[in-house]
């Protein structure tokens, strides 16, 4: 057996139950650098989560509780004022929000281009029932002779195609990272291939719409594979009862 004298803790001199965990094994105030434990033992508040005494870091814990409660109250108030749901977009990451804003702007801009460049080129509309392939006629608008692009679409659903391409782009190797819808859950359209014009042959834009692609508008940019420069935008509207068409500048 050890000869050392056993340590003995004095009985606590308290007037009530200790509900604060930080004070269970020490005199109140000791953890706060206070040597005034005797006086502070009679402290009126030793119980709740509204104070930051105790271990280092509890101040942060308290501050987080305050700010989270504050933010939660704000959210609740906002929900009461505007109970509408924006779907998953409401909780989307900032990058996703930026992408959505960009797409919205593009979609809003397209009708303007329509007005500016007027005439439309109709694409073979016979597209019901089985998957069908249809070669588009060359675009027949003010700049069609410059672009001279044929359109090839494979889709079960009616589609409307808007192509906004800078001049002299038809000979470039254009690619797109996909056309995206505003609804984040709708998968992007990725089966889009652009074959540049060679010699006297036309450029060709091939688009394949998956069988169960949700209806909506999908937009994206066409970039030059060589240097990444944006050369135009492509937007496809799926599922509307309108005639397929294209436009270009």
């Amino acid at each position: 057996m050890s000869e050392r004298k056993r340590l003995h803790r004095n009985d606590p001199s308290r007037g009530g139950p200790l509900r604060n965990f930080s004070n269970l094994y020490s005199q109140p105030g000791v953890l706060n650098g206070g040597s005034k434990a005797k006086d502070s033992a009679t402290s009126q508040e030793g119980h709740d989560k509204t104070r930051a005494e105790g271990r280092p870091g509890e101040g942060v814990g308290l501050a987080y509780r305050v700010i989270e409660k504050y933010l939660a109250e704000g959210r609740l108030a906002a929900e009461r004022l505007n109970p509408l749901s924006y779907g998953n977009g409401a909780t989307a990451a900032p990058l996703q929000e930026l992408v959505e804003r960009m797409l919205r702007q593009q979609v809003e801009m397209l009708p303007l281009w329509l007005e500016l460049f007027g005439s439309l080129a109709r694409v073979d509309p016979a597209r019901t029932g089985d998957p069908a392939r249809a070669n588009s006629r060359p675009m027949n608008n003010g700049s069609s002779s410059k672009h001279n692009i044929s359109l090839e679409i494979a889709s079960r659903q009616p589609v409307e195609v808007f192509l906004d391409l800078q001049e002299h782009s038809e000979r470039l190797a254009l690619v797109t990272s996909g056309l995206h819808a505003l609804r984040p859950k709708a998968r992007a359209l990725t089966e889009i291939r652009f074959t540049p014009r060679k010699g006297e042959s036309r450029s060709k834009l091939s688009i394949k719409i998956p069988a169960r692609q949700p209806s909506g508008t999908y937009s994206g940019v066409l970039v030059d594979r060589a240097n990444g420069d944006v050369r135009g935008t492509l937007s496809i509207r799926i599922g509307r009862s309108v005639s397929p068409r294209t436009t270009a500048r």
Partner: protein
């Protein structure tokens, strides 16, 4: 946490953005009659200097996202004007005697004229916000105005909480109550609002602004607690009267802690002291209050809290800006939490 020489960046940026803001602010302070009774009073507090922390936060938050300084400078001017207008009102409400090393405006000119000047300065801050339309467009300018309205509401609510506690001699104020009051009274105008509108301009409205509330709260609360601590230190640089908060009976974290630690007898005396109006509090009584705070190591307690909040601010900032490229403005904002607790 940044320390030492890296903190030289903060004073440097504050000086640079502060001078830019002051120069632009001059255009919005008319020099016309009645000068003696109004316009001279308007330019008094802005002329006295100040840290220019609020406008600098706005400009830096904007530039951190790659926007131009010119895009944010009108909003920065509005923030500084609003801040100075509210200071005039605060000094009246608190019965303060000194502001930035000189007598407060109401002591110099009387309460009615000071009150009127405060009203004018507050409302005049709308002009640069309206001028934002020419630079940022109608939509963004309107969103900044909406943010301003939100900040003004939060600020008034926080001020009302504190004034109400003093009027009713509330003695059961907890640390959580204090932090909520500071969130509204101080943090919104000192940090949350400048950062939010800066980000709003910098991203052209393309960012969730609520993500910046936490950072602004931790930064602003650390700033306020350090301010409370500095009030107990005699230093001409601080520019406010020594122990002014004690004379005014402000519910600071230090006072709340002292009250909590006190014995019943001390608490009764403290309560009686705080119940009396400022004019009836003697220097001897305030000296006893200081003794009580020293006895219960209130400064150490508040200091620790300020340090913890600064650490939390650093953490939140790192989360917010991890994907942003390094820049002088990003470094400035990153170093602000350390600066606010180390300033003297």
């Amino acid at each position: 946490m940044s320390t030492g020489s890296t903190l030289a960046l903060v004073p440097s940026v504050l000086r640079e953005y502060g001078e830019t803001t002051r120069a632009a602010l001059q255009q919005y302070l008319p020099v016309r009659e009645p000068r003696r009774y109004l316009y001279d009073l308007l330019s008094d507090y802005p002329r006295r200097g100040g840290k220019m922390m609020r406008p600098s936060l706005c400009i830096a938050a904007c530039r951190m996202f790659g926007a131009r300084l010119e895009d944010a400078v009108r909003t920065a001017v509005a923030i500084e004007m609003l801040h100075n207008g509210l200071l005039i009102h605060d000094d009246i409400e608190d019965g303060s005697e000194q502001r930035r090393g000189q007598p407060t405006l109401h002591r110099l000119h009387g309460m009615p004229l000071a009150l009127n000047a405060g009203d004018m300065l507050t409302l005049a801050s709308l002009r640069p916000l309206l001028d934002n339309r020419n630079v940022l467009g109608e939509s963004l300018a309107l969103r900044i105005l909406e943010e301003t309205e939100r900040m003004a509401r939060e600020c008034a609510e926080g001020q009302a909480m504190e004034l109400g506690w003093r009027r009713d001699n509330s003695i059961g104020v907890s640390d959580a109550d204090y932090l909520k009051m500071v969130l509204k009274k101080t943090c919104w105008l000192a940090a949350i609002y400048p950062i939010r509108v800066g980000v709003l301009i910098g991203t052209r409205g393309g960012c969730d602004l609520d993500r910046f509330v936490r950072f602004g709260f931790f930064l602003g609360a650390a700033f306020q607690i350090q301010d409370d601590l500095l009030n107990l230190v005699a230093d001409s640089r601080y520019g406010k009267e020594l122990n002014g908060d004690l004379f005014e009976g402000k519910r600071t974290l230090l006072l709340i802690h002292a009250f909590r630690r006190s014995t019943p007898r001390e608490r009764a005396r403290l309560s009686s002291l705080l119940a009396r109006p400022r004019e009836e509090r003697t220097a001897e009584e305030v000296g006893w209050l200081r003794y009580l705070m020293d006895k219960y190591t209130c400064s150490e307690y508040a200091q620790r809290m300020a340090h913890e909040l600064a650490g939390a601010a650093l953490h939140e900032f790192a989360l917010l800006t991890a994907s942003l490229p390094d820049s002088r403005d990003k470094s400035f904002l990153e170093q602000m939490p350390t600066w606010v607790i180390e300033r003297t």
